[in-house]
């Protein structure tokens, strides 16, 4: 009798336990604060919870500048989120710190990822395992001001397709005052903006080289191709005078103000440029070289699962990650944030490809490169300094390139985990 009661009690205990668990699995999702991203995620969570009433997802956000430190600190104190957003370039650091677990193969088989996603997701792969998947990706394109094109006698519906056409159009648009100061730039020149990516992943390749080898751990641009790419870039200001570094403070500010004919920028700038009222602008693919070679730089924030997540939380995290990397979620993300779907099937729809704005960015994704930065800020700074030495200090292009290659190799070596 006593045994039976005990047994019944045990069963009852178990079943309430199981019942409670089914009732309330709460997982945490972390990302950084960016208004439209937070809104999009709120919407995704609401949809997900409707389909999975037994799971609640709590979104926690931090300012971008603190975000990495917060994740790392939370991981050390055992309070890491179950699913978190991370920039693809942080993976080495996060993996070395044991923050992430490889995506479970049952829910995310590698072959399926490679078949369905754009090839740039390979930046999330280490030793055959994927550590995260993006909802959305970003690429670069050439924005151009149709009003300035018309004023300069150029066809506003036929933007430049090659580097030569780009230079030619920019020279026609650029205006200078009597003292030689630029008053309207043909194109913005802003290494601190996206130009360093353009130089690294696009121009170097178009001049016949490649920026790095060995999984981006060896600098490979200190050669003829790198030299020609840097000569081309610096000549835009020094000889062709199509623009001026620092003109209107920032490239995007100059373009917004209608004082620059063209600018190279990413999908993330669409939100800001959409509020422009004074003129119409268009988007086109980054110019090809004379042989038709094109390249682009793509980047993304991926979503990974915490190494600490296990049991039912892990199951919930898997479900949530599956949902936020589904075509449906990508569509919501595209409409709210303006970033491109990471799945080919969701991105390369007729509707998207025909879209005059998304089309050029999407075409760029097909041939885009993703730099595996080891210390993104320092590598970016190094490229900025390389150009500044030529523009401000009159150092020769060759010497500046040599110095930059050497310094960047040191940065990469120092950052190797």
């Amino acid at each position: 009798m006593r045994k039976a009661t005990l047994f019944a009690g045990l069963i009852a205990g178990f079943s309430t336990f199981a019942f409670n668990a089914a009732q309330a699995v709460e997982i945490e999702y972390w990302q950084y604060v960016f208004d439209t991203r937070v809104k999009a995620m709120d919407q995704l969570i609401a949809e997900f919870q409707k389909a999975n009433p037994d799971i609640t997802v709590k979104q926690v956000t931090f300012p971008y500048a603190d975000y990495q430190t917060r994740v790392i600190a939370a991981n050390m104190s055992g309070n890491a989120p179950d699913v978190m957003q991370l920039f693809y370039g942080w993976l080495d650091k996060f993996a070395a710190g044991g923050i992430l677990q490889p995506l479970p193969k049952d829910a995310f088989p590698a072959e399926k990822i490679e078949k369905d996603f754009f090839p740039i997701v390979s930046a999330m792969k280490r030793d055959g395992e994927y550590y995260g998947l993006p909802t959305a990706v970003r690429s670069l394109a050439l924005f151009y001001n149709k009003k300035l094109f018309t004023e300069a006698g150029l066809d506003p519906n036929n933007p430049p397709k090659t580097l030569d056409e780009f230079v030619d159009a920019a020279q026609k648009i650029a205006k200078h005052d009597n003292a030689g100061n630029i008053t309207v730039a043909g194109s913005t020149l802003d290494m601190g903006g996206q130009d360093h990516q353009w130089w690294r992943e696009v121009l170097i390749r178009q001049f016949g080289g490649e920026p790095y080898t060995d999984n981006d751990s060896k600098v490979a641009y200190n050669n003829e191709a790198g030299l020609k790419a840097l000569e081309f870039y610096t000549s835009l200001q020094m000889e062709k005078k199509i623009g001026q570094a620092g003109f209107m403070d920032e490239g995007q500010a100059a373009f917004r103000a209608g004082k620059a004919g063209m600018t190279i920028d990413g999908t993330f700038r669409l939100g800001s440029f959409r509020t422009i009222k004074d003129f119409e602008w268009g988007v086109t693919e980054l110019p090809a070289n004379a042989e038709g070679v094109r390249s682009n730089y793509a980047s993304y924030f991926a979503n990974g699962i915490s190494a600490k997540s296990s049991g039912e939380k892990l199951e919930a995290a898997k479900k949530f990650l599956t949902y936020i990397t589904s075509p449906e979620a990508m569509d919501i993300w595209l409409k709210t944030v303006g970033e491109l779907p990471a799945l080919r099937s969701a991105a390369l729809t007729d509707e998207n490809l025909k879209d005059p704005i998304y089309g050029p960015f999407l075409k760029g994704l097909e041939y885009a490169q993703t730099t595996l930065f080891k210390d993104e800020q320092a590598q970016r700074q190094n490229a900025i300094d390389m150009v500044n030495r030529v523009l401000l200090e009159g150092q020769s292009v060759k010497e500046s390139l040599e110095q930059a290659a050497e310094a960047e190799q040191e940065i990469i070596d120092a950052a190797q985990p």
Binding site: G97, T183, G192, I384, L392, A415
Partner: protein, 290 residues
């Protein structure tokens, strides 16, 4: 009775002491320890002794930053103090709209450094948007690159820092001037001393405690300059080519961009040592000779 009062005193003192121990002293000692490790935030720190310091002293960027920091200090402090004293000295005699003028000088001190830095950043732009270059253009002076030049950028930023701190220094100087008893001046005038002599023999010597305070305060301020530089050069922090980068910005970048915490801690210890030496040196130089 006495013990009871003592207990009360220590009871109240315990709170700030505890606070300082936990919030200030413990992290300070922790930084000394971290500077001897290769901590990168994710893996447990490993003791590497003085490798960080050796790397630091071999790093040409550190010496550039070191030089910049001292330029801010050596040029910034005297200029700001002479300026503040001159303004305070004359403002002290102005009766007309005295409070209003004083408030005007004090306003920048109340304004957020980030907001001011951005306004100045736009002032310094090349034409067509930079107001300073517009004015220069009108009076026929060639355009200046200001923060886009490796020679002018540091001084351009220093001007804004001096301007921002001026209000505070003027108020303190004026309080010091007011504290000098009028009888000294009266006696001097009866003895027939000129204004210059009064300034040199009475005002300046009696103002010494104020001056010492401001020299130390302002020096530490310039040695720790960050807000202005960071906000005026966000796209190329501390640039162009590191020509405006102070030590604090280098520490920030090493710690929170490169996540080399051990290396950043070593830089912090160096900054701490510099601050300590400069402060002690100034106190010693400006001490009362008895």
């Amino acid at each position: 009775m006495r013990t009871k009062r003592l207990l009360w005193v220590w009871g109240f003192l315990a709170v700030p002491i505890l606070f300082y121990t936990v919030i200030r002293f413990y992290p300070t000692f922790q930084a000394f320890y971290l500077s001897l490790t290769n901590w990168d935030l994710v893996r447990p720190p490993k003791l590497i002794w003085f490798a960080n310091y050796i790397k630091l002293f071999k790093d040409p960027q550190f010496w550039k930053v070191f030089k910049n920091t001292f330029l801010y200090l050596i040029v910034g402090t005297p200029i700001s103090l002479v300026l503040a004293f001159t303004i305070a000295y004359f403002l002290d005699r102005v009766r007309f709209m005295h409070n209003f003028i004083r408030a005007l000088y004090f306003l920048p001190f109340l304004t957020t450094a980030a907001a001011m830095a951005w306004v100045w950043r736009w002032f310094y732009q090349p034409p067509p948007i930079g107001i300073i270059n517009d004015v220069l253009g009108m009076i026929g002076i060639p355009q200046q690159p200001f923060i886009r030049s490796t020679d002018q950028a540091l001084y351009s930023i220093m001007v804004t820092a001096i301007w921002a701190g001026l209000g505070f220094q003027i108020i303190i100087f004026m309080a010091g001037l007011r504290a000098i008893p009028n009888t000294f001046y009266e006696a001097a005038r009866i003895d027939g001393l000129g204004e210059w002599a009064i300034l040199r023999k009475i005002t300046l010597p009696l103002l010494k405690p104020t001056t010492v305070f401001l020299v130390v305060f302002s020096s530490i301020g310039f040695l720790r300059i960050f807000d202005q530089v960071y906000n005026m050069t966000t796209n190329d922090p501390g640039g162009p080519l590191g020509s405006t980068k102070p030590l604090v910005l280098m520490i920030y970048q090493t710690a929170f961009n490169s996540y080399a915490m051990g290396y950043a801690a070593a830089q912090t210890v160096v900054l701490f040592t510099i601050l300590l030496i400069v402060s002690l040196l100034q106190l010693w130089i400006l001490r009362d000779k008895k």
